[in-house]
């Protein structure tokens, strides 16, 4: 091959590759979210386009959403509107990546804030400015396997932690087995896997005992909070894992596999995300429900759900205390939203996160219908269709009650929240592993919180 030909060919090839490769920038509002059910999201987006005529370029983001978005924001890749988790909210506002919607000229903000649950509203507001509208929201709930409890001689799950210990020990000793034959070694399963959005269990248990972890200025109060409740709850957990052996040590590593575990009949009690209950009580997914329905001779196509796993309030240290954790996933405008697209992006957000052109909470309703995802709007809980559907697998009254007293993580609005998350999770795991006492662990977390607060003031 002649040298000249060689050089020419390589140059042409390189040009060809570079030219033919980049995809064209699509028109419309650039909207991104994590890769949960992108087809369903597209359906909702198409409905918006149909009703308003505004084009939208939707993309689902693969991989770790948070990390990918950080890269996107830092490099100022075009973006108008995106999903945001409440755990990242404060961080992203502080970094200057989100844009509030309460100062867009010429638009009509017609949000009935009374119809939104307080903990949701708080999670979407930062220092008085409004940023987000809800995508979905949910709460932590306590469930127990009714069939198993009955087999061990009990009717329902107890309300206090001490009673729970007693009952769980007896359930363990009853020698029950899962449908596939595995014995019930640890009746209770919780979620203590390290993750930026994790440790729902710890927060839910604290809220259920009405523990105040931080004051209004995000100063840490534990371990000397009222009646040392935070410490006592940790102690209960430690005893549950190591002394009585009623809490599954796998709780330290399980995440969403919690629902698989409960559905397979490995445990009799669990603290789960509410929308998982719809999955667990469905015979298609859950061995315990399938076994339950088979035993009663109910054919496959006649009934899908059975309330084998039932809801109960999250157990607390003392009777009369109640509470639980709630979290919010929202839509928000990006700070790098193109100025000529702001109004349109807002309309998209409004449609998906609030009401459609017909004045109906269409999108929220749609998500609930298809996947059982929770919503932030109080009035939907009185909707007859929604009630009917929920009754198939859950307890509507209890859900209503809990949604009203659910709280978001106390210091979620602190700019140092993710640093805090990074620190407290391994420390609590060390307590659970017996590597340090609850008081020591809480003490160290307290110290770190103070350092972080100083760093960020």
């Amino acid at each position: 091959m002649q040298r000249r030909t060689f050089l020419k060919t390589s140059a042409l090839t390189t040009l060809g590759l570079a030219a033919g490769c980049a995809p064209a920038q699509p028109p419309g509002v650039i909207f991104k979210g994590w890769a949960y059910e992108p087809d369903l999201v597209r359906q909702n987006v198409d409905r918006f386009v149909q009703q308003t005529g505004i084009p939208v370029a939707y993309q689902s983001v693969s991989g770790n959403y948070h990390d990918k978005m950080v890269a996107l924001f830092v490099s100022r890749t075009p973006l108008d509107c995106c999903y945001v988790r409440d755990d990242d909210f404060a961080e992203w506002v502080e970094a200057g990546w989100l844009r509030p919607y309460d100062d867009i000229p010429d638009i009509d903000i017609n949000i009935d804030e009374d119809d939104i649950f307080p903990y949701n509203l708080e999670s979407m507001t930062y220092q008085g400015r409004r940023y987000g509208l809800p995508y979905y929201t949910d709460i932590s709930i306590w469930v127990y396997n009714h069939d198993m409890l009955q087999a061990a001689g009990f009717d329902r799950s107890p309300t206090t932690l001490d009673e729970l210990t007693e009952q769980a020990v007896k359930v363990k000793e009853a020698g029950l087995r899962a449908p596939d034959g595995l014995p019930l070694d640890y009746p209770i399963t919780l979620n203590f896997r390290q993750s930026p959005t994790g440790f729902n269990t710890w927060w839910a248990l604290n809220f259920a005992s009405e523990v105040e972890l931080f004051d209004d200025e995000f100063n840490p109060i534990f371990p000397d909070d009222k009646d040392q409740r935070a410490e006592r709850i940790l102690q209960w957990l430690v005893d549950g894992i190591n002394k009585h052996r009623i809490i599954d040590p796998n709780s330290l590593t399980a995440n969403s596999s919690l629902r698989y575990s409960i559905g397979a009949g490995r445990q009799a009690y669990g603290l789960i995300d509410k929308y998982d209950l719809e999955w667990i009580n469905n015979r298609r997914n859950s061995a315990v429900v399938q076994a339950h329905l088979k035993k009663r001779g109910v054919p496959q196509d006649e009934q899908s759900y059975a309330k084998v796993l039932r809801m109960a309030p999250v157990p607390s240290l003392e009777p009369g205390l109640r509470g639980t954790l709630g979290w919010t996933r929202m839509y928000s405008l990006a700070a790098q939203c193109r100025p000529d697209k702001v109004a349109e992006a807002w309309r998209l957000m409004n449609f998906l996160g609030y009401k459609d052109a017909d004045g109906d909470y269409y999108t929220a309703r749609h998500w609930f219908k298809l996947r059982g995802l929770g919503f932030a709007f109080k009035s939907l809980l009185d909707d007859p269709d929604i009630i009917a559907q929920t009754q198939l697998w859950g307890d509507v009254d209890l859900i209503k009650e809990q949604a009203n007293y659910a709280r978001a993580r106390t210091n979620i609005m602190a700019p140092w929240f993710s640093d805090f998350t990074l620190y407290y999770q391994p420390e609590i795991q060390k307590v659970l592993l017996g590597q340090q006492s609850p008081r020591e662990g809480l003490g160290r977390i307290n110290k770190r919180c103070r350092e972080l607060k100083r760093e960020w003031s």
């Binding site: 980049a22 995809p23 890769a35 949960y36 059910e37 959403y65 596939d180 034959g181 575990s261």
Partner: protein
């Protein structure tokens, strides 16, 4: 001299153990891919109600299946195509540029060559996490985000050092007389390289090409970083979509895992002789 019977029994026994070690962990994944969702977290390895429904979702281009994860599964054929394009391109780049660099290092004795080898090697010691964001910025500034080229370039930088090392070793074993004869006949230097030299080194080239392809096929961190739409998304990135989506049953992920390794395994099976021959020639040098 044939080894004794007892020796052969031990040998076959050990070989079987080795094969089990290599295969059994994945066997579990393969078996799970045939389980219905309900059986995923149950004890038994062998599905009690084996089904092909997990695989069906991957080729189900029309049906708007309501199953969780179906949307991702349907992107699969396109993702495999992307992986193929990228893998082939990376292999070609490694072959072409790797040969050039290795030839220079093998044939020309210049002072900087050890330093150059260290440079190539050293580029492998940088942790991906460190250069992720700057690399992202570079790719973005060239307008290459979400293109095949970005991933091809990134993968090439990771695979070139090894390719150059292998090829250099092999090239050093080829007798100089070959090119000298060609030059005497009036061939240019590059001409001798392409027409006379490289054909002789086919085993090493095959080895390097396949290694580069498989390495690119399995890479996921940078493919994930640089692609966002189906335009350039690779199969391994699709697999990670699953892992992030906590609601997707492992049986579906398992089916995806099986589909993703089929091609590399087939390649390995067909070309294992070449691969080993190529690398062995290199080590001899």
């Amino acid at each position: 001299m044939k080894p004794s019977l007892s020796k052969r029994i031990i040998l076959y026994g050990l070989a079987l153990l080795a094969a089990l070690y290599l295969v059994v962990p994945f066997l579990w994944v393969a078996l799970t891919s045939f389980k219905p969702e309900r059986e995923v977290s149950q004890l038994h390895w062998i599905p009690q109600e084996p089904t092909l429904e997990n695989y069906a979702l991957y080729f189900d281009t029309d049906n708007r299946s309501a199953a969780v994860g179906a949307a991702i599964a349907r992107q699969f054929p396109r993702a495999i195509a992307n992986s193929l394009i990228i893998g082939l391109a990376v292999a070609l780049i490694n072959l072409f540029f790797g040969s050039l660099a290795a030839y220079a290092l093998a044939r020309v004795d210049f002072k900087g060559s050890l330093l150059l080898m260290l440079f190539y090697l050293g580029s492998r010691s940088v942790p991906g996490v460190a250069i992720m964001i700057p690399m992202y910025l570079v790719i973005r500034s060239y307008g290459l985000l979400d293109t095949h080229l970005a991933v091809i370039l990134a993968h090439s930088t990771f695979t070139l050092p090894f390719s150059v090392w292998i090829l250099k070793g092999y090239f050093q074993t080829v007798p100089l007389e070959l090119e000298l004869a060609a030059r005497v006949d009036g061939c240019s230097r590059l001409g001798a390289l392409f027409r006379i030299f490289l054909p002789v080194t086919t085993p090493a080239l095959a080895a390097v090409g396949i290694f580069a392809f498989i390495a690119s096929w399995g890479e996921f961190l940078f493919a994930l970083l640089f692609t966002s739409t189906l335009h350039a998304k690779t199969a391994t990135v699709l697999a990670s979509d699953f892992a992030q989506e906590t609601q997707v049953p492992f049986s579906l992920i398992a089916a995806g895992g099986v589909l993703v390794i089929l091609l590399p395994i087939a390649l390995a099976f067909l070309f294992q002789r070449f691969i080993i021959h190529g690398i062995s020639g290199s080590v001899k040098g």
